[in-house]
């Protein structure tokens, strides 16, 4: 099998700047999104995710401007997410050059949006982001940046979004996000094995070993992280070199 495991830096965007919070709070400014994106592309990032965490009425416009800027400057695929809630939003972003969009809460609140977007723009265009938290024995889906718990389990929701036409799932473990203590490999493997579409693992990356674990034990197709890349704790080229040495297929 030669399909490479993907390394995806995630850039949280607020007011046009890159930020990253720890457990969704305490945001730190980490720079210009396009410059960051370019640097990552040159270092060997396989894809980029831009998550806009501003919540203004002008959102659609700022997202489309961001998509246009990124698309014209980068030669690797990228996803844009954050507050996308309608077919119109999706269309605007497609026309601005986004390769994929990521939808989280809006898809849960209106699941037929998944069917509609997949039908109109193709499954490849749609990443469903899921934030989940382990509560007692179940992994429960949370909405609105992790603030609102639902009554749905991660596995049930993963299966449903797959059936409705999602092209990929971006799973963030709220228990692990920002801890740098490793990904949620056990539940990650369960999600990966219960759906037919690729899974991007997010939340908890702290070292190169964590990526090795999530690709092997966690059976993830891609690993996503933010701060460890932004603050230079792990270089993407070094990470890929490490993974290759350990027998993981990566693009170098």
């Amino acid at each position: 099998m030669t399909l490479a495991k993907r390394i995806i830096p995630c850039l949280d965007i607020k007011n046009g700047r890159t930020v990253k919070g720890v457990n969704f709070v305490n945001l730190r400014d980490a720079g210009d999104p396009v410059e960051f994106g370019k640097a990552y592309s040159e270092q060997g990032a396989d894809e980029l995710v831009f998550l806009d965490i501003t919540a203004t009425l002008e959102k659609r416009k700022t997202l489309s401007e961001l998509a246009k800027k990124v698309a014209s400057n980068l030669n690797i695929p990228f996803t844009i997410g954050g507050g996308i809630s309608s077919i119109k939003d999706a269309e605007t972003l497609l026309e601005s050059g986004a390769d994929k969009i990521s939808i989280n809460s809006a898809a849960y609140r209106n699941p037929s949006l998944i069917d509609e977007i997949a039908k109109r723009f193709g499954s490849q265009f749609l990443v469903i982001a899921i934030d989940a938290k382990k509560m007692e024995n179940d992994w429960i889906v949370h909405l609105s940046g992790g603030k609102i718990p639902t009554s749905t389990t991660l596995l049930d929701w993963s299966r449903e979004v797959t059936q409705r036409g999602a092209g990929e799932i971006l799973f963030t473990s709220m228990n692990h996000d920002g801890t740098k203590g490793g990904f949620a490999c056990e539940i990650m493997a369960k999600v990966s094995q219960s759906v037919s579409i690729p899974i991007i693992a997010s939340g908890g990356a702290g070292s190169s070993e964590d990526f090795y674990d999530v690709f092997t034990k966690g059976k993830a197709d891609a690993g996503l992280a933010a701060s460890i890349f932004h603050f230079g704790e792990i270089g993407i080229a070094d990470l890929k070199g490490y993974l290759k040495e350990k027998g993981i297929s990566v693009r170098i």
Binding site: T2, L3, D46, S72, Q124, F125, Q193, I197, P198
Partner: protein, 196 residues
């Protein structure tokens, strides 16, 4: 040099236009028949669904225009699949430039997710858009259907089964992967196409 990118109801035709700009090439995104016919090179990009896209091309009379082009034409992803005879995606008769069939990837093993998404190797390269330096290079794929290997195959990728990563016949070139999203490797392939 005049480059036309065929504009139709497919996903992300913009990204090819942006890729051309990065290479310093001015290209036109157009569905104007005369403009397409007068171009030195034509790119037929796209992601999307086969039957609705074929219906759209027929409606705009672009189907017969594409088939009869004599200049180098590059089909990308869905563009490549539509250049074939038939697609299993909603049982769609396609343009028939290549006699090949487009088949659906069957999901049988959790290790091989469908769609085939991400960076994979292209091998056994031949034809004008490739050169030796590209043998075994990673390119970016996103697709749930594939073109079977056939006499026109100029690059092979192995995912679930070996399939055509690229095909070429006379002035028609096509890649299943997205050169416009495949980093410097993709830029080299696009440049090779532009210098045919």
């Amino acid at each position: 040099m005049k480059i036309s990118i065929i504009n139709y109801n497919a996903g992300n035709v913009q990204s090819v236009l942006f890729a051309m700009k990065r290479l310093g090439i001015k290209a036109n995104l157009t569905d104007n028949i005369e403009e397409i016919q007068k171009s030195d090179k034509v790119i037929f990009p796209g992601v999307g669904e086969a039957s609705s896209t074929m219906a759209f091309l027929k409606d705009k009379k672009l189907d017969s225009v594409i088939i009869n082009l004599k200049q180098p034409v590059l089909g990308i992803c869905l563009g490549m699949q539509l250049m074939c005879a038939y697609s299993e995606e909603n049982e769609t008769p396609c343009l028939g430039i290549f006699p090949s069939k487009v088949r659906k990837f069957l999901f049988t093993d959790p290790k091989s997710k469908v769609p085939h998404m991400g960076w994979n190797l292209i091998q056994d390269l031949k034809g004008d858009i490739f050169d030796e330096s590209l043998e075994g290079a990673f390119t970016y794929f996103v697709h749930g259907f594939y073109v079977e290997k056939n006499e026109f195959t100029t690059a092979t990728c192995d995912y679930i089964i070996p399939f055509s990563a690229a095909i070429q016949k006379e002035n028609f070139y096509a890649t299943q992967f997205h050169p416009e999203k495949s980093g410097s490797v993709g830029e080299r392939i696009l440049t090779n196409f532009l210098t045919i």
